[in-house]
């Protein structure tokens, strides 16, 4: 494992209107690192889901803050989403949730709770700490085709 190159941290009120702002920043960092379009979209969904959980589950009584950290490595991006609200049993929740199957009657379909399933599916590694709030650590490796910025520039120059 390589050493961390940079660490970026943001603190927002745990309100839904800020999740889009988190996505914009994430998108900028991931694209600078050279993630593919699809990987960036996966990162956006997974990170938004963690923020949505921070906003919805963690602060039923009073809104607080959510902290989003980006650990930037040579070969991967680690996203951390933390809140200091009421904790919930992530592992227990995760067991109960999964993709929909056609065998479930329409009227019994759950309208929420796919968030954790998506985080698990879209990221390479997921860890959760539930001590005085919930912290989700998610990692995505740079293993797909990179967007080669340098190549694009040199091509432009030769034209």
């Amino acid at each position: 494992m390589e050493m961390i190159k940079d660490y970026v941290e943001m603190k927002f009120p745990a309100k839904p209107e800020y999740i889009g702002v988190v996505r914009l920043t994430l998108s900028g960092i991931a694209s600078r690192m050279g993630f593919t379009y699809d990987d960036i979209e996966d990162l956006k969904v997974a990170t938004s889901e963690a923020c949505t959980n921070a906003v919805k589950h963690a602060y039923k009584e009073h809104p607080g803050e959510m902290i989003i950290g980006f650990g930037i490595y040579e070969d991967r991006l680690e996203v951390m989403v933390a809140d200091r609200g009421e904790s919930f049993e992530f592992d227990k929740l995760r067991e109960q949730l999964g993709p929909y199957t056609p065998s479930i009657p329409i009227e019994d379909l759950n309208e929420g709770g796919l968030g954790l399933f998506l985080i698990d599916t879209l990221m390479d590694e997921v860890k959760v700490l539930a001590e005085s709030g919930v912290t989700v650590f998610m990692t995505k490796f740079l293993n797909g085709e990179r967007v080669e910025n340098e190549t694009v520039i040199s091509k432009t120059e030769t034209n």
Binding site: P16, E41, S48, V55, Y100, P102, G112, L118
Partner: protein, 109 residues
Amino acid sequence: MNLTININETKNEVFVHLKGEIDAFTAPKLKESLMPYSEKENVYMTVCLQDVQYMDSTGLGVFVGLLKSVRKHNGHLKLTDLSPRLERLFSITGLSDIIDISTKAVGEN
């Protein structure tokens, strides 16, 4: 980072065009706007997702709720013009087998 909702209603058909992002911020507004239409008997509701650039589980939740309500009132819900991204979201969650969805026609952009 917002969502524009356009609704056209004729007899039993409701055509909805969405533009923007569906997330925890915009999903409640979407649900509130569409739910009343789903409660009409025999409604045929079409939702065009061509201009939806971003969606997550909050959006999936709205469409599951809408489907339940539409079915309860003997109607039909169809989601059209999904980008490959959105289509992927529906297929990994198993929803593409439950909701009537169609992707963008070949050649369109």
